[in-house]
């Protein structure tokens, strides 16, 4: 039961990270390998904000805004200059990941920083005879809430319609008079923002430590590949699936933890390269 809840809350976090990745990939076709870096940056900014005495919601906001700003600058300053060269995009985002990782090491040092959970959520809740930390439940609820909001945003609003149009046919979208550069900057900033928010929410559970970027990125990639590139539903299902394997796997097979995480992904890729929920057209 404890495993169930920790895998559920971890799945929620993972979904926030991969949702941002999916949005960016779905619309811009950029596999953003700096996404783990944004997650880590969010966590550190969140910890710093909490230590400065800000209340938790403001720390979340700070983490989200910081990563959104960096994302927007990187998109406008670097990605736009590269154009459609996919290899170059991959490498540029790797470059950004290195810069973020090293800068964080310089500013905050190499020791993990623990973040306190918000005061009200430091208790445990008894459910079905077992105790759960309230904070983890809250993280799960918040990420499901964000998932629903994202779904509403994409399916029910004008902005969402623009995003969907961009995913389906970028040329047509442009022809219809939608500003694609603005759409791209916005998407990249928003996707980064989601990673940053996930980082702050993760800080009280995982604490902020150097290397969390490259711990998280492969997981996000597995989710994306499993769920199908650019599919939010796939990201949602994939996140909880991968989180469950990630949490339970090492208990069952301590020496092969990583293998049982990536094997399902390889099998899916071999049988269904577009992923479980992806469409074959892309």
């Amino acid at each position: 039961m404890t495993y169930l809840l920790s895998s559920l809350s971890f799945g929620g976090l993972l979904f926030l990270v991969t949702a941002g990745f999916c949005l960016i990939f779905g619309i811009m076709r950029v596999p953003n390998l700096a996404h783990g870096g944004f997650f880590m940056l969010g966590a550190y900014v969140g910890v710093a904000a909490l230590r400065a005495g800000l209340p938790f919601p403001l720390a979340v906001l700070a983490g989200g805004l910081a990563t959104a700003a960096l994302g927007a600058v990187f998109e406008a300053g670097v990605l736009r200059r590269i154009g459609n060269n996919e290899d170059a995009q991959v490498l540029a985002t790797v470059g950004l990941a290195l810069i973020i990782g090293d800068s964080i090491l310089t500013v905050w040092g190499g020791n993990p920083l623990r973040a306190p959970a918000p005061e009200a959520l430091r208790t445990s809740i008894q459910l079905a005879g077992a105790f759960f930390p309230a904070y983890r439940l809250a993280v799960l609820l918040v990420s499901v809430l964000i998932a629903v909001l994202l779904w509403l945003l994409i399916e029910r609003t004008r902005l969402g319609a623009m995003l969907r149009a961009g995913v389906d046919d970028l040329k047509m979208t442009r022809a219809l008079g939608i500003s694609v550069p603005l759409l791209f900057s916005g998407t990249f900033a928003f996707g980064s923002c989601l990673a940053g928010v996930a980082g702050v929410l993760a800080a009280p559970i995982l604490s902020a430590y150097p290397g969390m970027d490259f711990d998280m990125l492969p997981l996000a990639l597995v989710v994306v590949v499993l769920g199908g590139m650019g599919s939010l539903l796939g990201a949602f299902v994939g996140s909880f699936l991968v989180a469950a394997v990630y949490v339970v796997g090492p208990v069952l097979f301590p020496e092969f933890a990583y293998v049982i995480l990536f094997l399902p992904m390889m099998i899916v890729m071999a049988i269904r390269p577009q992923g479980l929920f992806g469409s074959a057209s892309h």
């Binding site: 991959v90 470059g95 490259f214 590949v225 990583y258 390889m266 071999a270």
Partner: protein, 321 residues
């Protein structure tokens, strides 16, 4: 090719005579090893147009293979090396068989997964790999009277292996298979319509590329007399890609140039800048923006445009993807 052989000979001989300490000899050996590693990856990225983040797997499997077989396995180093090469190539074939069904981003992702699985095994399968501590106490072999434990002899050995490999890679690029590899990169549908088996050609490239990476892995294991999961990390995969891209994935000796630049930077830049990784990231982004086809083609273009000072050559125009 003869010019390359001469250059290699002059560098090795020069270091042998003038090197003030063994440090430069082993640094040069590492350049040879990573140069070969980068060239093997360039075969995949430049010729076949497939970007792999899992190349570390072959390097690492071969290194761990030769390390484990010659210590715990009790085999002769040469037999162990041959066995490690065979194992790594077999894994390359099995994995490549379904990896090359996809290209572009999907290929990046699936190779990244391979690299992570290999890293995870090296890191967690403690009973075989020694986990974080790696495998230690690996001996360098000897060839008749030549004792590879001497730094200079080992450098000569690495130089020879590099030269032979470059010769082989050059042959491959110039062969009919090489032409069809480039054909598949540029026009997969047309090649398929012409009756070429696109999948088989990509698979052949993948296996060859993995083979040369394995050779580099074995050399690296002997060089350090130690294997650790670090050489399988995502950061190392990135570094090798960086060498290839900086130098120019499609140019003949570009990857070697890139290796010298990146390794020199890693080794000596900490005298000038405090954060080498961040600086590396900046360099990577700048190169991608301003020299998308790499340093070597950029330099060549510079030199030839100074000579002819006229219209850009066709090769330059076609160089950027």
């Amino acid at each position: 090719m003869t010019r390359f052989a001469l250059l290699l000979l002059v560098v090795v001989a020069g270091l042998g005579v003038f090197s003030p300490s063994d440090f430069y000899l082993s640094f040069a050996s590492r350049i040879c090893i990573y140069g070969l590693y980068a060239m093997s990856l360039a075969l995949l990225l430049g010729e076949a147009g497939l970007m792999s983040f899992g190349h570390t797997a072959f390097f690492g499997i071969a290194a761990y293979g030769v390390g484990w077989l010659s210590t715990a396995g009790g085999l002769d180093p040469w037999v162990a090396a041959a066995a490690a090469l065979a194992i790594a190539s077999a894994i390359g074939f099995a994995f490549g068989a379904f990896a090359v069904r996809v290209t572009d981003t999907a290929f990046v992702m699936i190779t990244l997964a391979l690299g992570q699985v290999a890293w995870g095994l090296a890191y967690r399968w403690v009973s075989v790999t020694g986990g974080d501590n790696g495998l230690t106490g690996i001996a360098r072999p000897s060839i008749g009277p030549a004792d590879l434990t001497r730094p200079l002899t080992f450098l000569v050995f690495c130089g020879l292996v590099l030269f032979v490999s470059v010769l082989a890679i050059d042959r491959l690029r110039g062969s009919a298979l090489g032409a069809s590899i480039r054909g598949v990169r540029d026009q997969p549908r047309r090649m398929s319509a012409l009756g070429y088996n696109v999948w088989a050609i990509r698979l052949a490239t993948f296996v060859c590329s993995g083979f040369f990476a394995s050779v580099a892995g074995i050399l690296d294991c002997w060089q350090q007399r130690f294997v650790s999961p670090v050489s399988l990390s995502l950061l190392d995969a990135t570094l090798v890609l960086l060498m290839v891209v900086i130098g120019g994935a499609r140019s003949r000796f570009g990857p070697l140039v890139g290796t010298v630049v990146v390794m020199g930077f890693n080794e000596f830049a900490d005298h000038f800048v405090s954060r080498t990784q961040a600086a590396l990231g900046v360099v990577l982004i700048l190169i991608v923006i301003f020299m998308p086809s790499g340093i070597a083609p950029w330099l060549q273009g510079r030199m030839s445009s100074r000579r002819s000072a006229g219209a850009p050559k066709l090769s330059e125009v076609g160089g950027a993807k």
